[in-house]
Symmetry: D3
Subunit: 129 residues, 6 copies
Amino acid sequence: MSGARTNRRQEAMALLERLEPEAPGRVADNLDDFHPQALETLLGFAFADVVSREGIDLKTREMLTVAMLGAMGNAPGQLEFHLRAAMNTGVTREEIVEIVLQIAVYAGIPAAMNAMSAAKAAFRAREGA
Amino acid sequence: MSGARTNRRQEAMALLERLEPEAPGRVADNLDDFHPQALETLLGFAFADVVSREGIDLKTREMLTVAMLGAMGNAPGQLEFHLRAAMNTGVTREEIVEIVLQIAVYAGIPAAMNAMSAAKAAFRAREGA
Amino acid sequence: MSGARTNRRQEAMALLERLEPEAPGRVADNLDDFHPQALETLLGFAFADVVSREGIDLKTREMLTVAMLGAMGNAPGQLEFHLRAAMNTGVTREEIVEIVLQIAVYAGIPAAMNAMSAAKAAFRAREGA
Amino acid sequence: MSGARTNRRQEAMALLERLEPEAPGRVADNLDDFHPQALETLLGFAFADVVSREGIDLKTREMLTVAMLGAMGNAPGQLEFHLRAAMNTGVTREEIVEIVLQIAVYAGIPAAMNAMSAAKAAFRAREGA
Amino acid sequence: MSGARTNRRQEAMALLERLEPEAPGRVADNLDDFHPQALETLLGFAFADVVSREGIDLKTREMLTVAMLGAMGNAPGQLEFHLRAAMNTGVTREEIVEIVLQIAVYAGIPAAMNAMSAAKAAFRAREGA
Amino acid sequence: MSGARTNRRQEAMALLERLEPEAPGRVADNLDDFHPQALETLLGFAFADVVSREGIDLKTREMLTVAMLGAMGNAPGQLEFHLRAAMNTGVTREEIVEIVLQIAVYAGIPAAMNAMSAAKAAFRAREGA
């Protein structure tokens, strides 16, 4: 089974690199330092089992993720990461503005204001890159 | 100003009809019975001001809405409505399956199981139509 | 200490009766059947320790409770109870309409639609009384 | 229609000024920098369409907003803003203490502890003004 | 890789059977009817990858699950399932009462009241079994 | 009644000291500075009325609290406090890793990633103590 398991970690890392080229090393250090199986268990599920599936293209998946994280409001750091990842996979600033406005409809104005702040930080990070 | 206001109600109703052709009459009765301005205030914002905007096509917007409602889990009836609306605007069953799996990543397995039940109900409603 | 404890249960029941005259018996049966101390622990805190405090009148407190339950969306049955209680403590239907609209601003349109449905059920219950 | 639209932005700004006299310029810059229609779409709905309505006075509306934001816990910065706005519209410190305690009943002790910290920050900001 | 994959489904079903002996068939039908990989993706993660891990015994894990589902309040049906599963893995009624009271502390009285109702339904189901 | 009341404050402080020996003074100052009855009302309920009850040992209660706060995601500071308290009452690092993974199942990967960061901060605080 270790063959399948090694693949799952590698698949997760490969997807993460598509989201943000600099992310894999940093994220792997962060998770491996917590528990040797944390990366495969959490990101293997997230990225190898689900987000890398066909059926919806990666750009649209990142739009969905930004909308969900903005609506739930429980993970500001990860919202900002996925806003950068959204742009890395082809989502335009205009589309991000639209997602922020749509968050207001389904989760309220404060959630949208927080998402707007995260979007502006992601825009600045991209300009600074 | 009443001209602009009338337009806003009409724009909301027009968008709602695109989501589900049978919906406008039922929804208008429901809201008008509560307060004469409830429809324009709530759906004018949701549908005339935001969801009918350009920048993201309606099909993708419904995918975002399904993802947000599934992740938040606070409005099962509206999740089922927007699953039907998603199919009415071109979202396929395969794409709905993918959204449900992605909800599991960002909001947990129970949220995804609830979204799966709502999706199956929407699938049945469409077959019965 | 049992004197103070008995008072706390009685204070909670007295406040509950102000919210809905028929409620104390039903609610006490429901909680006592679960655990002999459930009522005092839960409603002693809610009603004797907090809601019966001075500083904000009971009518305004019920407005706050309706707004919070509507915004959180996690307790539809209790939202409907507190909508009836709000009317029993002097909140008007017009004020309830305003609270529902304000829920839309801070928690989104679906939360407000659910609160509207609960409000309409509470209006009907009052008419049927 | 642009006349009605201009009014809606102005109405939102006028309400915002009643909440905090220094806010309109800062908030307008923040939203206009994101998208030219963000202010009207988001704050036009929040403040022109809903919060400036009659039926509930502004002081009571700010009490409702503080209760909702404290219970949801998803927007600490905006909770602190509305605590200052609450005091600006006549809510007393004693009333804010009562709202914090009531948040504990409906959303739990941690939500109330966070609201207490935000309230203390708002109290200090007022003293420093 | 299909060997590892088959094991993952089987491991998930084996854990589910420990939670409720009647559950595997019903749950498998429900998920397989949605998508052939839904069961392995969702329950493979939940039960094979996480809940069947050593480090915390299954009884304590079910207590944690009941507490989380009660606090979040977004999945009443699954809360009731896990209350039955908790009893099947050795959690006593007295312990369930304590968890319900602790939910009140961290998520508020309405969340605890909902958990109490779910607990009473699970108690009745067990008596009827 | 003041005898019972004094006891309740003392009982809350005694429980808090078991969670973190340095906490009582700091927490008492924080709450007393807000309102003279805040400590007894909030922590009297949390710690004297509920968490100090028999029926579940304190170590398991802290595991439940960490799971709930991690799943809800609304109180990062208190999650970190209860992670330290969990270790002070006998929860091992291995058990905390397991709780974090289980949070991922029931509340999603972002909630688990936040809980992991809080756990790592609590681990560092313990090493630095």
